[in-house]
């Protein structure tokens, strides 16, 4: 089953005529993703490989019917409009690999998407992959590489670090396990889908038996995940690692963010609340995959 994405997910590529858009479309399709069409304003009527290009999402939907997901390979300064368009056309999942989205644009587009019930992965997300089925975003790189790093299986992977999504998935493979769906939630200051929203999705996916979480200091993403576990909305085994314990907290926002977080956001606090909720938190990244394997055997 996997979550959010499988071989039947019908995908649109926004910004398909750009360097990344065209290269990634080819790879995603080669891997098995059901890429149907692309959009680049002003380039409608052309083709990128075998994919027709439209001037707007509206046009693409008119021609091909509703899409299940879209991915935006659009520069950060322009991506807000692309997302609004996709939300307006009712696409339920928007994957945003783009980095350096202006903060106020990100807040605006996320607020807009939330209002309409649209899920946004990112901005700044490397993407997501359901091994052996489909991939959206940067993740995976090339077909051979994706096959080597991401083995199909029963562990869900949520990572707050882009590169570590692959590294952790590779380590999980070496520990003799495989992945149901792996995703990077995005490295930007504010992002859409968070561990707290993803865990319940993994909970209801029968193919996922456990989840590995690569966390990071800053924000309260892990604290919110712990609340979800404590509330019984995620009951499968969870193993986590929190990166950045050695880094001074609060490097991102100003003084005042300390008021909002009030002691939350530090590695110590994240580790503490996750453990209290019943998760297993390891001290070193290399221990995460073996811990996961142990937990699954014990289960």
């Amino acid at each position: 089953m996997a979550i959010l994405l499988d071989e039947n997910t019908k995908v649109l590529v926004q910004g398909i005529t750009g360097r990344e858009g065209s290269a990634r479309s080819r790879f995603m399709a080669a891997y098995g993703t059901r890429i149907v069409a692309g959009v680049t304003p002003g380039r409608g009527g052309t083709m990128v490989g075998s994919f027709p290009v439209y001037n707007s999402v509206h046009e693409a939907v008119g021609r091909h019917g509703a899409f299940d997901a879209t991915v935006t390979f659009v520069p950060g300064l322009m991506v807000k409009e692309a997302v609004v368009e996709a939300v307006d056309e009712g696409i339920p999942l928007i994957v945003m690999p783009v980095e350096r989205v202006p903060l106020h644009d990100a807040l605006t587009l996320l607020a807009y998407a939330r209002r309409k019930g649209t899920r946004v992965l990112g901005p700044g997300s490397f993407g997501l992959i359901s091994p052996g089925r489909a991939v959206i975003g940067w993740i995976g790189g090339s077909e051979d590489f994706a096959n080597e790093i991401f083995r199909p299986g029963h562990v869900g992977v949520i990572s707050r670090s882009g590169g570590q999504t692959s590294t952790l998935s590779w380590a999980i493979g070496r520990a003799g396990l495989g992945i149901s769906t792996a995703m990077h939630v995005g490295g930007e200051p504010v992002v859409g889908l968070s561990p707290a929203e993803l865990l319940p999705l993994f909970e209801s996916d029968p193919e996922t038996h456990a989840v590995a979480l690569f966390g990071e200091i800053g924000t309260v993403a892990e604290e919110e995940a712990a609340e979800v576990i404590a509330a019984g909305r995620f009951t499968k085994p969870l193993a986590a690692y929190i990166a950045g314990a050695g880094v001074r907290p609060g490097m991102r926002f100003s003084h005042a963010s300390a008021i909002v977080e009030r002691g939350r956001g530090t590695a110590e606090n994240k580790i503490k609340v996750l453990r209290e909720a019943g998760a297993r938190v390891v001290e070193r990244p290399e221990d995460l995959a073996p811990a996961m394997a142990e937990m699954l055997i014990a289960n």
């Binding site: 990344e20 807040l107 807009y112 790189g141 050695g246 609060g250 490097m251 100003s254 909002v260």
Partner: protein, 561 residues
């Protein structure tokens, strides 16, 4: 240390106040001065007791001696003379703000930050009746906060409710000893100042905006007595009017190299390049240049190096599918630091991007900086897509240089301690050898001899870019400009090249720019579309120099300090 001392994309107090004023908030009367004479003039114009405030990006200015009070213009000149050119907590003071002194009746706090939590994910406005102190220490009951729906905005009614929740109208009148009617007015003003602050926050694409204290004066004005606004890094390009040079956080002012690094990022949006000098003065040696791939493992890897006794001159990072040209420029900055005793790239991550681009980018930088540094230690750990190919390219390329090097692949991502220990050992071996002075060191010695007076400059610029070598003056050269540089082919030197390495390289690593015609390499696409098609992979140059006849050079201009 307060968290916001790391902010770099930050406005000076005087800039922030200018913007607040434009948004309709009252700020103290005054002006900014770069010389004692200007300070004198401003104080004269104000004709009342003034505060002279050092303009530096740091908190705790008062305690650090950065704020002085002056009764007369002469005293203001004196205070400015003392502050200007000095340093407050490591930050150089280039300007002072001269302002009327306020008679305070009460100090409030107003601020906006972004709450990134999944539940909120919105700007949060905060207001407190206890201003002038560290807002973190204010008790919850004196703090009102409200998440703002960015699609709706923040209105006067919202602001009124916030103010009311902490301060009843009657209390306000009592507190300031005003008749009820005046209390009510004053109240509206407070609310209005919150609305104006929100407007400023939105207008400058701020990450945070704080007024602390927001002052009620004895004569009944609401005045922003101090302000801190930091701009979102990713939005700096939208605000040329703000004059921000290095939009990122740091606990020190940007160095010349930091500024050069920002230009790399600004001129090329593909992938991320980050560079921060950690030890601006590396004389005495023992420092290594540090370069990482990918954020997640990068700090961990840096920690590992430090734990194993290595000193890092800098922190650099290239991630998110950068071009080889961008990798080159970043590595070039890292290697351009004076007196390094090693270079270490730890890509402790299984990266999705094709890592051979990192290999080509690095080799270009190595070839430019390491040919005259026998024994110089180089370690590269690289993993991910095209990992083996990348390691092979590096092995071959590094073998042409006189350096000592070791290469590691994915098996070492989780064995960083081992890699760090090897680095440490290599650095020690290198330092114990009787090595000749490097180009850098020679340049520095020369520079020091030349300008003993300006001993403040830690070093002089490195030797100029060795490429392109002047080849056969007056003969036929072809130039193919791409986005951040250009390819130069010296046709004369191509004659008889059997390898056609450039053509093969471009079709394997790059953008299929070249073709073979009559046994010769030609540009296979119109010149105008080179910028679109060239992926700046640098492979043609490398392969031409290694396997061809060295006729092809790539110009990659960058600002080296």
């Amino acid at each position: 240390m307060a968290a916001d001392e790391y902010d770099m994309a930050r406005l000076y107090e005087y800039q922030g106040k200018q913007i607040l004023r434009e948004a309709g908030l009252d700020v103290p009367e005054g002006g900014v001065a770069a010389t004692p004479e200007e300070a004198f003039a401003i104080a004269g114009r104000l004709d009342k007791p003034v505060a002279v405030k050092a303009q530096v990006w740091t908190t705790g200015r008062f305690k650090a001696g950065g704020i002085r009070f002056a009764k007369t213009p002469d005293e203001a000149r004196q205070a400015a003379a003392e502050l200007l050119g000095g340093r407050i907590k490591d930050f150089p003071v280039e300007k002072v703000l001269i302002e009327e002194q306020l008679e305070l009746a009460h100090e409030f706090y107003a601020g906006i930050i972004v709450d990134a939590s999944h539940k909120v994910r919105a700007p949060v406005l905060m207001f407190s009746t206890q201003g002038g102190v560290d807002v973190e220490s204010v008790a919850e009951e004196h703090l009102a906060r409200q998440a703002v729906d960015i699609l709706e905005g923040f209105r006067l009614d919202d602001a009124r409710r916030m103010v009311e929740s902490l301060l009843k109208v009657e209390e306000a009148s009592r507190l300031f000893n005003l008749p009820e009617e005046a209390g009510r007015l004053f109240y509206g003003e407070l609310a209005q100042s919150l609305v104006s602050l929100y407007e400023v926050f939105r207008r400058c694409d701020a990450r945070s905006a704080e007024i602390n204290p927001l002052v009620a004066t004895k004569d009944g004005w609401i005045v922003a007595a101090d302000c801190r606004i930091s701009i979102d890094d990713a939005s700096v390009a939208r605000h040329p009017e703000l004059g921000i040079t290095v939009p990122r956080e740091s606990n020190t002012p940007p160095t010349a190299l930091d500024v050069a690094a920002w230009k790399i990022e600004e001129n090329d949006y593909r992938g991320i390049s980050f560079f921060a000098q950690m030890a601006p003065d590396t004389r005495g040696g023992g420092f290594i240049g540090y370069h990482a791939i990918g954020g997640g493992g990068a700090l961990l890897a840096a920690d590992t190096l430090v734990r194993n006794g290595l000193k890092l001159a800098n922190y650099a990072e290239t991630s998110g599918n950068p071009t080889a040209a961008k990798v080159y420029r970043t590595a070039r900055l890292v290697l351009g630091q004076p007196d390094l005793d090693g270079y270490c790239l730890l890509g402790a991550v299984i990266a999705s991007q094709d890592q051979w681009h990192h290999a080509h980018g690095l080799l270009r930088a190595f070839r430019e900086t390491l040919t005259d540094r026998p024994g110089f230690p180089v370690i590269v750990l690289i993993a991910g897509n095209k990992e083996e190919e990348a390691l092979e390219i590096l092995r071959e390329g590094l073998s042409t240089l006189p350096v000592r090097f070791e290469l590691f692949g994915r098996e070492y991502i989780h064995r960083l301690d081992f890699v760090a220990r090897r680095m440490k050992e290599m650095v020690e071996e290198y330092r114990s050898e009787n090595r000749p002075l490097s180009l850098w060191e020679r340049a520095r010695v020369r520079a020091e001899e030349n300008q003993k007076s300006e001993s403040d400059t830690p070093y002089s610029p490195l030797s100029p870019h060795p490429n392109p070598l002047p080849k056969g003056e007056g003969t036929l050269t072809e130039r193919y400009p791409f986005r951040t540089g250009e390819v130069i082919v010296h046709r004369q030197q191509c004659v008889g090249c059997r390898s056609l390495a450039c053509v093969k390289a471009c079709s394997l690593y790059g953008g299929y720019l070249y073709r073979v015609k009559n046994g010769k390499m030609i540009l296979g696409i119109p010149l105008e579309i080179v910028p679109r098609q060239c992926t700046e992979c640098l492979a043609c140059e490398y392969e031409c120099h290694l396997r061809g006849q060295g006729a092809l050079d790539i110009m990659l201009p960058m600002d080296l300090p």
